[in-house]
């Protein structure tokens, strides 16, 4: 039995220690906001936070996550009102949307560490998150907007 802390809740899961964390999150715990993309840490669709870092859950064994603070897209904010979520909504960033939980989780690490990122900072932080729809210009725009809202203490413009 492995004990996991996901979105501040404790889960006891009876799985193989080498099962990818992504499988446990989606298939055992039932939180399906995090997506499977490539399975080899190449695309960023599966990004969750592990102790605040943007871990790729498809290659992270569940044994590595035991006892660590895991946050998925469902736990990024209490009411879907993280500045990034608000900005994403305001600018209508997604097209198909499949990659965007990973995009948001990566962007959240960027904004935590750099509240006023430049375009170059955004490139450095987001280069590992691929979007087949090519929504990159809107992602960039939304990160700048979220940064501005975060600096001004605006949680939700609506």
């Amino acid at each position: 039995m492995i004990s996991l802390n996901i979105n501040q809740k404790t889960y006891q899961v009876d799985v193989s220690p080498d099962m990818p964390l992504l499988w446990v999150i989606r298939d055992i715990v039932g939180l399906t906001g995090t997506k499977y993309g490539c399975g080899v840490a190449q695309c960023g669709a599966c990004v969750v936070h592990m102790n605040g870092e943007a871990a790729r859950s498809c290659v992270t064994k569940v044994s590595r996550a035991e006892g660590q603070a895991i946050v998925t897209i469902e736990g990024l904010s209490q009411n879907n009102d993280h500045p990034l979520q608000t900005a994403w909504n305001e600018i209508s960033v997604p097209q198909c949307g499949y990659c965007h939980s990973g995009q948001l989780m990566s962007a959240a690490v960027l904004l935590r560490e750099n509240p006023n990122p430049t375009d170059d900072d955004i490139d450095a932080a987001m280069a590992g998150n691929i979007c087949r729809c090519g929504t990159y210009p809107r992602i960039r725009q939304a990160i700048h907007l979220a940064a501005e809202m975060q600096r001004k203490g605006i949680k939700n413009k609506n």
Binding site: V40, E53, V59, K61, R64, A107, D121, A124, G128
Partner: protein, 222 residues
């Protein structure tokens, strides 16, 4: 007056002795510049004490060391820029992760986000190590593009080698990240010799004086 003369004599004598010694030492110093290095080698900036100096043996060992250090398994994490290299052809790492101040990446692109404590099985999966990182920004330890001469001198210079002395350099041959080169994960070429052979060459190079090959001997790789 007599007392004064004696006093003056006592003070004069050490000055004369010191002057003679200074002349002799200067002559030795000047003569030492005239001693030619052995053919094909130059001394590194730093020379360790108590080395068994054998420049030919030392340089021969370093050329084996150089083959390993310039293999993709070593050079890929010692790039000349701030993006690591990847693959047996040492191309720029896809996604362009950046070195960062501490060598462990930046923002959502930190090395350990993908590189696990152990290799992930399968082709094109991230190799792993608990301490996966590049050299930090203030001590880049660049291998890429260095000639044997440049690399040998760099490795021996504490200002460029991570402040390592002789014993620390020798011990570095068994560092966990160095050893990881011989456990590269599926589909990656091994360094061109065994770790045992590398360690022997590395130690032989250092123990015999850590001589640098002559600048023109071999062109830089890759």
């Amino acid at each position: 007056m007599k007392r004064n003369s004696e006093t003056a004599g006592r003070y004069f004598l050490p000055v004369k002795t010191i002057s003679v010694l200074a002349v002799i030492l200067s002559a030795i110093g000047i003569m030492s510049f005239g001693i030619k290095n052995k053919k094909g080698v130059t001394k590194s900036n730093i020379q360790f004490e108590n080395s068994n100096r054998d420049s030919i043996k030392s340089v021969k060992a370093f050329m084996d060391v150089y083959k390993v250090l310039m293999s993709p398994r070593c050079v890929n994490c010692h790039p000349s820029g701030d993006v690591p290299l990847q693959g047996d052809d040492s191309h720029l790492h896809t996604m362009f992760p950046r070195r960062g101040v501490d060598g462990k990446g930046v923002y959502a692109m930190k090395c350990a986000n993908c590189h696990q404590p152990a290799n992930t099985p399968g082709l094109n999966t991230p190799p792993g190590n608990p301490n996966w990182h590049l050299p930090p920004a203030n001590m880049k330890l660049v291998f890429q593009g260095r000639t044997p001469h440049q690399l040998a001198k760099q490795l021996m210079d504490p200002k460029q080698n991570g402040h390592k002395g002789k014993e620390q350099l020798i011990a570095h041959a068994t560092d966990a990240l160095v050893l990881a080169a011989w456990n590269p994960g599926d589909g990656r070429a091994l360094p061109p010799m065994s770790h045992e052979a590398f360690k022997k060459a590395w130690t032989t190079w250092i123990e015999n004086g850590a001589y640098a090959p002559k600048p023109s001997k071999v062109k830089a790789r890759p």
